[in-house]
């Protein structure tokens, strides 16, 4: 069941990415080629400003605004399925990463505090791998990403209720060097 949900989410991410992105030459294509295309148009692609697609950045600028400023994907309890509301965030980061081959994405999975710490490392890893897979389907080179887990060890919000837990079940997108 869980798996179908994940694949369903991935498929819709993929489809929406293709549908919304006429400039794209195809997922899995060389990021540089797309970057060049995006640069000449000067327009934004998947919410990413064309000036950020020149191919020489290792991370989005600190003052970046818009969708690329979003770095966190949240998850349901005991789930690694990517919720549809986060598709655009992944689209934007995939577009940026493909256009900037030097960029290296660290996908950091997290779990809420309930249960075993070791098991939660595995749960966080599953979430990070889920994002890794989605980004791969969006054409990001696997060599530019590493999915890792912090388990329950780095909560975003301290607290012992669902309000805190729902903010802690997450994957953070961090770029190397940031």
């Amino acid at each position: 069941m869980k798996k179908y949900a994940i694949y369903g989410a991935l498929l819709s991410v993929l489809l929406s990415a293709c549908a919304q992105d006429p400039a794209k030459t195809g997922d899995g294509a060389d990021g540089k080629g797309q970057a060049a295309g995006a640069q000449t148009s000067g327009a934004s692609v998947n919410g990413v400003d064309g000036s950020l697609l020149k191919g020489n950045l290792s991370a989005p600028p600190k003052n970046v605004t818009g969708i690329l400023a979003q770095r966190v994907i949240y998850f349901d309890y005991d789930s690694a399925a990517i919720r549809s509301e986060f598709r655009a965030v992944l689209d934007a980061h995939a577009t940026f990463t493909k256009a900037n081959p030097k960029a290296k994405l660290n996908l950091q999975g997290h779990a809420d505090e309930r249960g075993s710490r070791d098991y939660n490392v595995a749960l966080g890893q599953r979430r990070a791998e889920s994002v890794n897979k989605a980004m791969g389907l969006l054409g990001v080179n696997n060599g530019q990403m590493e999915a890792v887990s912090f388990g329950e060890e780095k909560p975003a919000v301290e607290g012992h209720d669902e309000a805190a837990w729902s903010k802690n079940r997450r994957v953070e997108l961090r770029y190397a060097g940031e």
Binding site: N106, Q108, Y119
Partner: protein, 426 residues
């Protein structure tokens, strides 16, 4: 495998170098009937010039084992410290089956001589008597040794009062891997980091700790010698590296790696080398532990839809599910004889320490708190050390394997991830 210095001499060095009390007090809670506990009187030792009376440490050790019931020695008239002063009828009248007397005498060089005797009160006969000469810093260690002798004479099994524990202390935004006496005294910091540390595991000879550190912004498994501090990253593959467990031979670790799939179990040589994947499952597998004979592996997996404990033979064959009751059973630990499994069992949203008799499948829930984690057996199998949370702060606690005696280790920091060290070879 080599050892640089003999453990026994190390203990002395270690206690001398790092003797300060870390925790203020021990809270002991007796929850069950006293039915089959051995009534023992531990008479305060005749002493002058020592801060702690060894008898207090001996009595606390015996009580927290869950095997003994302490007989109050007040109102017994003058307290004996020499065998000829013991009036056995008085102690029989107070219900004692056994009693401990002793004294602390000044010795040369500012040291102390500690003498004790253990009596069978019913027969009026001496069961043990020993003398130790030590520095003031080692008085607690001697008291633990005395408790070990008493425990072994009266139960026929080795005591664990001279053993150590490892755990993670979080304080001031840093994480410290600490080792202390089993009662929390004499703590030393083995390593510390601004990033989380989890999952300490003792090597079978008690000289090294495997653990997981996030200092590289991802989980990496290290092995560190606690005596010389040298450490090595044993598993640092792409993705996450976690949940180390020692094989009984002390040469290999079982670990959970995500290098090929989300979380799978591998064997890896402690000295390095390529990990060997033990099985391929489409699920998330983690928390491996070896059976004491090294032939079986117990682990947690969600292959059946919820996290449960499974076991597999290292000789091959399919994994078999071990836990069935409830939707969340994790963190297996095995008693030293391999007959009892402790684990964390979720019931009505509460995580509790439970045991299972592996021959019969009989399960018993031992604790009644809410956030119990990381059970770990005493080396004689009689107590289980675990982490719990009180008032939002991590604490360590022990429970006797029959669930009757519980205690918390009181301390000032936030503690988690305890692991009970094996018995030292002495």
């Amino acid at each position: 495998m080599h050892r640089l210095i003999k453990p026994r001499s190390l203990l002395v060095l270690w206690l001398a170098a790092f003797a300060w009390p870390a925790w203020a007090a021990m809270t002991i809670e007796i929850v069950g009937g006293a039915g089959n506990r051995i009534p023992v009187a531990v008479v305060p030792f005749a002493a002058s010039g020592t801060a702690d009376n060894p008898a207090e440490v001996v009595a606390a050790d015996l009580e927290r084992s869950g095997v003994f019931r302490l007989i109050d020695s007040r109102d017994a008239g003058p307290l004996p410290s020499e065998p000829q002063d013991v009036r056995f009828p008085v102690w029989r009248g107070k219900g004692a089956d056994a009693m401990v007397i002793g004294q602390v005498l000044p010795a040369s060089g500012g040291r102390f001589e500690v003498r004790f005797r253990l009596f069978d009160v019913v027969k009026g006969a001496q069961l043990a008597g020993m003398s130790y000469t030590v520095s003031a810093q080692n008085l607690r260690a001697v008291a633990h040794k005395i408790a070990d002798v008493v425990y072994e004479k009266l139960t026929g099994e080795p005591g664990v009062f001279s053993t150590r524990i490892a755990y993670i202390l979080k304080r001031g935004g840093r994480y410290e891997l600490q080792v202390s006496d089993f009662d929390g005294y004499n703590s030393i910091t083995v390593t510390n980091s601004p990033e989380p540390l989890i999952s300490p595991a003792w090597s079978p000879d008690g000289s090294r700790l495997a653990y997981v550190s996030f200092e590289e912004k991802k989980p990496v498994v290290y092995v560190q010698n606690i005596f010389d501090g040298k450490r090595r990253a044993v598993a640092s593959f792409k993705g996450s590296n976690s949940a180390p467990a020692w094989a009984p031979d002390g040469r290999r670790l079982a670990v959970a790696l995500s290098k090929d799939a989300v979380s799978q179990i591998y064997l890896i040589d402690v000295e390095g080398g390529a990990p060997k994947r033990l099985m391929e499952s489409p699920a998330l597998d983690t928390e491996p532990i070896f059976s004491p004979d090294g032939r079986m592996l117990y682990f947690t997996s969600d292959r059946g839809g919820s996290p449960q404990i499974y076991r597999m033979s290292l000789d091959g064959g399919p994994a078999k599910r071990v836990t069935f009751d409830g939707g969340y059973n994790v963190s297996p630990a095995l008693s030293p004889d391999g007959k009892i499994m402790a684990f964390v069992h979720r019931r009505e949203g509460r995580d509790l320490v439970a045991t299972m008799d592996l021959a019969t499948g009989q399960t018993q829930v031992l604790t009644d708190t809410n956030h119990d984690e990381s059970p770990s057996f005493a080396p004689n199998g009689r107590m289980i050390l675990y982490a719990t949370r009180v008032g939002g702060r991590g604490m360590l606690a022990t429970v006797s394997v029959d669930g009757l005696v519980k205690q918390r280790l009181s301390q000032t920091g936030d503690l988690r991830e305890p692991a009970w060290a094996p018995l030292r070879n002495q």
